[in-house]
Symmetry: D2
Amino acid sequence: MDHLARLEAQVADHNRTLLPDLQSAYQALGANLARADIDIDRITLLVQSFKMAIPSWGVGVGGTRFARFPIAGEPRNVDEKLQDCAVIQRLVRCTPLVSLHFPWDKAADFRTLKQLGDSLGLGFDAVNSNTFQDPPGQTLSYKFGSLSHSDAAVRDLAIAHNIECIHHGEQLGSKALTVWIADGANFPGQQHMRKALDRYLDSMAKIYAALPADWTLLLEHKLYEPAFYATVIADWGTSFACAQMLGEKARCLVDLGHHAPTTNIEMIVARLIQFSKLGGFHFNDSKYGDDDLDSGSIDPFRLFLVFNELVDADSAGILAPPAYMMDQSHNITDPIESLMMSSREILRAYAQALLVDRPALHAHQDSNDVVMAVETLRKGFQTDVGPILAMARYRLGGAIDPVGAYRHSGYRAKMTELRPKAMIAGAGIV
Amino acid sequence: MDHLARLEAQVADHNRTLLPDLQSAYQALGANLARADIDIDRITLLVQSFKMAIPSWGVGVGGTRFARFPIAGEPRNVDEKLQDCAVIQRLVRCTPLVSLHFPWDKAADFRTLKQLGDSLGLGFDAVNSNTFQDPPGQTLSYKFGSLSHSDAAVRDLAIAHNIECIHHGEQLGSKALTVWIADGANFPGQQHMRKALDRYLDSMAKIYAALPADWTLLLEHKLYEPAFYATVIADWGTSFACAQMLGEKARCLVDLGHHAPTTNIEMIVARLIQFSKLGGFHFNDSKYGDDDLDSGSIDPFRLFLVFNELVDADSAGILAPPAYMMDQSHNITDPIESLMMSSREILRAYAQALLVDRPALHAHQDSNDVVMAVETLRKGFQTDVGPILAMARYRLGGAIDPVGAYRHSGYRAKMTELRPKAMIAGAGIV
Amino acid sequence: MDHLARLEAQVADHNRTLLPDLQSAYQALGANLARADIDIDRITLLVQSFKMAIPSWGVGVGGTRFARFPIAGEPRNVDEKLQDCAVIQRLVRCTPLVSLHFPWDKAADFRTLKQLGDSLGLGFDAVNSNTFQDPPGQTLSYKFGSLSHSDAAVRDLAIAHNIECIHHGEQLGSKALTVWIADGANFPGQQHMRKALDRYLDSMAKIYAALPADWTLLLEHKLYEPAFYATVIADWGTSFACAQMLGEKARCLVDLGHHAPTTNIEMIVARLIQFSKLGGFHFNDSKYGDDDLDSGSIDPFRLFLVFNELVDADSAGILAPPAYMMDQSHNITDPIESLMMSSREILRAYAQALLVDRPALHAHQDSNDVVMAVETLRKGFQTDVGPILAMARYRLGGAIDPVGAYRHSGYRAKMTELRPKAMIAGAGIV
Amino acid sequence: MDHLARLEAQVADHNRTLLPDLQSAYQALGANLARADIDIDRITLLVQSFKMAIPSWGVGVGGTRFARFPIAGEPRNVDEKLQDCAVIQRLVRCTPLVSLHFPWDKAADFRTLKQLGDSLGLGFDAVNSNTFQDPPGQTLSYKFGSLSHSDAAVRDLAIAHNIECIHHGEQLGSKALTVWIADGANFPGQQHMRKALDRYLDSMAKIYAALPADWTLLLEHKLYEPAFYATVIADWGTSFACAQMLGEKARCLVDLGHHAPTTNIEMIVARLIQFSKLGGFHFNDSKYGDDDLDSGSIDPFRLFLVFNELVDADSAGILAPPAYMMDQSHNITDPIESLMMSSREILRAYAQALLVDRPALHAHQDSNDVVMAVETLRKGFQTDVGPILAMARYRLGGAIDPVGAYRHSGYRAKMTELRPKAMIAGAGIV
């Protein structure tokens, strides 16, 4: 573990050089915000307390159906994935959680894995089941579905796997199971739509029944891919209806890339909050479909609008804090760099949303002064909160410039020596 | 009314010429279907029993925000609209219902209007309220919303109007109120999403309370337009959640053009059936947005897939028959011709869905024989059911060739004389 | 004209109060930029030199096919539209141009109109023809098309109208004609696609031939609306091919809302620059279709990326400056406020693009250091350039806070007295 | 080869049983068409003469980034792929061509491969280059692009590979090279858009220069995937402009799934025909993105509208026959069955388009009788041409029921014995 200690020393060095400029910028921003009666340190403190999870598969290089271009030094197993997550967390200090995926991350001994997490300062967020791939040696196949398969034997297999995931998670301290199924159809006529959903609900009820009392069952919908005509849990309406039928512990998870073009995602977030069914997020960005690009890279204003709903609900006292995770496919960047950059962009949206003068906004909304409402909301987004984000990292012991510090550290080069190149299961599938 | 009598005589003449060819084609198709153990007359009988409504505003020429190109002889008031509807019904015999829109169709005396309908052989389907336009002289405005407006006075006005619509409908024999609101926002920040929906639900609860025991309240969602950033009732998920909260008599209405690009509409239909909340349809076709084109003109296979769900549910005994209406904007055609052609295309999809060998389809679905399932479903769609549709019209007393008979009748020319050109309220807004 | 003199005095007062805060913010930003070797005053000067046009129809309240909600005090003729444009220009100082639309803005005497413009400090940008509406009394109709109509008589009428627009423009000092046609089809089969384009090209060649030597012919494409199945000039590919065939003076105009969902608009801009055919812009924003929302209100990053291409090409010395115009439909705001706010957001994107360190960006692009390229580009967008925009306005004699100054001035209230309410032709059609 | 002889014998047997019903149906349809003055045998002959290519990779099971579910008996090399193609051709008789992909299909000796093709009755259509994957052992990588890469060494490698593909093709009798590149960007800022296209054009000019005199260079555009922000050759506009710059032998290839949602693809086909740049097709169907579903399975009317343009241009004598290929990913079906079914659906669209009464259609279009134009076009689509397609197959020596005959033959079971399970390179990437 001493590369982490070494990293911290390097970060401290690096920070020393950067601190004076940061302090100037922070002070100037503070003065600016003070003119609007905003205490910059209050915002910084809130930013410091925001935490999100890294998906274990996200630290490997992702790919598409066309190709995957691996880089040297990628993690080859769950232990090495945790190591990479720990590096990220040391540098950005907002990612103390890891979200595992089974069977990809199946450990011989989960207590040992939990100890490794503890020693690295990492906790375990929601666990994820996988019934969209056939593990080697499995006789039955998920080719035509899993929890909604027409064959009860396949459904039972998928149910058992999900329950096993819960058991793994219990040993790790997880409190939620995220269920995304690829079940669907490539052709009109292939699948009986109502029967498929009935079977899904039956299967999920059995998984729900196996859930510990303090766990949440997160239902993740997706419009399409890998099913290209119809998907069993295709939209938030279906997800919401199922979560309602399953019970109190079932909630909906929103992946920002899982919607039809032009969908108003922030409104879906608002609706799920209103109906007490928002359970979690998979953050990423997209232009076309489930592109799984880095958060905030394509439409940063949309990300801000999502956080505007979260902050608004929180300030109204009605937000049950959802599970936050980055779910991205890093096909052409170093995943560690992308995850650090993305976590910062997520916090940027959060900080910008915190700056919005909500009483003023609500007053303009109530009086239908559209122009002033727009200007009030926009002001938050247009503020350069970079100094707040950097100061939050610094105050928590992280790096003022995470990518710079990471590159300086030579971590990837070292891993290249220690980890001979190897394909990792599930990299880039998100 | 004697133009209707004259029309019937003309139709009879016209039919005499066309009947021999129709009989040949019907016989050949019957022989073909018999080879697949399908009794053509059973299908024809089912087609004969399918009925849909014409929207009163649909018989006027529609327009866009850019222009409206009126034609001579358009109806100028509700009486004249009913006359046109009666012509359509005489020719196609599947449209014995009219759906009125208030205040556009407000009558001095609704009993007289009901008598006119009776005399024309027309009944009254769902009534529609209008809170997206300010009627002349109204002091309060719907500019910033109606049932979800931030001002209680505007909401009360909108509620009262809806309740008035119910009262009108009761005098006409209607059994449903369709509520579509244009409420929404053109800018992020303009509207508080949760508050707006809360207000909508409050308002709707009051309307619901005024509903007669045997009435249905139909909630119509729409993704966008005229609100171009967010719409209060934007998708089926919101519509469904609201219908659930409102109660048993509230159901969801599906307009085929009110969804995001690439949305699987037949799946929404399947879901609403499954959750016992499908209440009605607004039929039209679209390529881009709410284009309100003629039913079946852009994607006839999609229309077939919608009917496939309806017929499947019906054959399973779980379909509460929804209200069917054509909701189209006839910008460049004679509305009477478009409505006749469209009603035929809707029946075509229905007839094709009836032809599907459901036991075989289900068996292939259950065994995941994808190719045979696809072939089984497709066979229905690929059958040319034109002779069935024509024979159904003929047997009900309608025209074998409605457009030909209509053109031959000279009805539009006669109306041009009788109805000096005049703009009609609400034409083309759908 | 003394309301303008009064306005200037009010602005001066208003500015006095706001100047100290602006100077502090400007200084702080300047210090920040200086750390990156950027001279803030150089950026401010460039911003000061950027000019765009107001469309005459934009100062009236817009509407949709569903409704139009007028406000009091709207301009009722071209003279009053120019007055409103002059108010905007006094306050924001980046809109010294007006773009007229005929026949809506047809003047009895264009020399008088030109003098009015001169006296108000307004010049005349591209003129726009209108062949999507039938002017009162016109015997032939554009219902089925104009420049591409199957009937030569209709085409000749449309050609003559366009040539007349050129003549009007010559008297006003315009140097470009923008041609957008609504020609297209609502049904597959309605129109012969190749023949329609052939006829369009024939018609346009005749208009091109009538173009003065120093004029540009701007071709505006649009995917759909009011034609809902196919549009003759639907995409940039068709526009580009036609511009090529027509000749050197023909160029393509990009309206940000005229593309299919998910289209990469900045790439179209880059392509047209590369092929020497970019001629102009219609700025607005959109979420669904041609929503004509205020520029920068929905996806400000997209607007920045467009300006990134423009600034990059300009810095490479290959940008023939396009005609810039705001083309928005102000349905629920005071159009003067929306246009001021929008012009500022356009300048914001321009200023942010100017801040990008291009040599560094190019170096990262060349070496495929994706993360650093992204960070370099993003830095421009994340800078709050508000103080630069305000200072540019101030230095040019405009208002530090245009909306505040405008509201304070009571201009709309005064116009409400002077201009009894009246519908204006073409308001909101963009 | 005797499985082919055995297959032909089985087909003959199978056909004997089915022929009587086919003859009845054909006769009935013929009588129907005769009433519209159409000679069924003329249509059947035209259908018999339509040929399309099978992509070599299409006979393997495809997959997504999530999973691939292989079936037993898949071909493991180019020889076995040809065997499968030969089976398809024996059964459907419209697929006498194979399109190879290098390096996947690289043969030790291309003369031997050509002889195998000859012996199987298969010719070789366009060859395809692959610069979107790194072949094992290649030092330079296509990770950041190929023909447009910023590094000249990578570009040279990609150019050399394309020229090598031409050489392979020459030995096989191919007459075209299809170039699809995956080059693009996942992030705004990653790539310099103009420079990337300049480099692409430079590279393509070198490949063009290596083209034999009678060859065509087919440029294939695609909106996105695997690049998820911007793609160098993203749309038909770019493809067309590049084809123009490259020269006479460069033409555009249209893949039906490579466009933005709501794009009017048949209009793109019409435009490319009009500008003499239509070079070829990749047939498939899609609902969301490049779904690569079976042709005609999602939107059969769209496929018909594409063929309507082709037939119209052909009847006008201006169609340079394009290269037709099916480009589908068979993820859940037996690829042989899907390809047979798809080739039939393509022929269906062609036959339906042949039935359209073009003089009548043109007359209605010219006189703007929209309703009759629509009815005239639609009549072709609504005709059940199944008997024509089956008769065409039968008359050419193929199977009346290809899927039935194939299943009956036991071919896949036999291959399962002969071909132990193995992953094949490139399966399902289209």
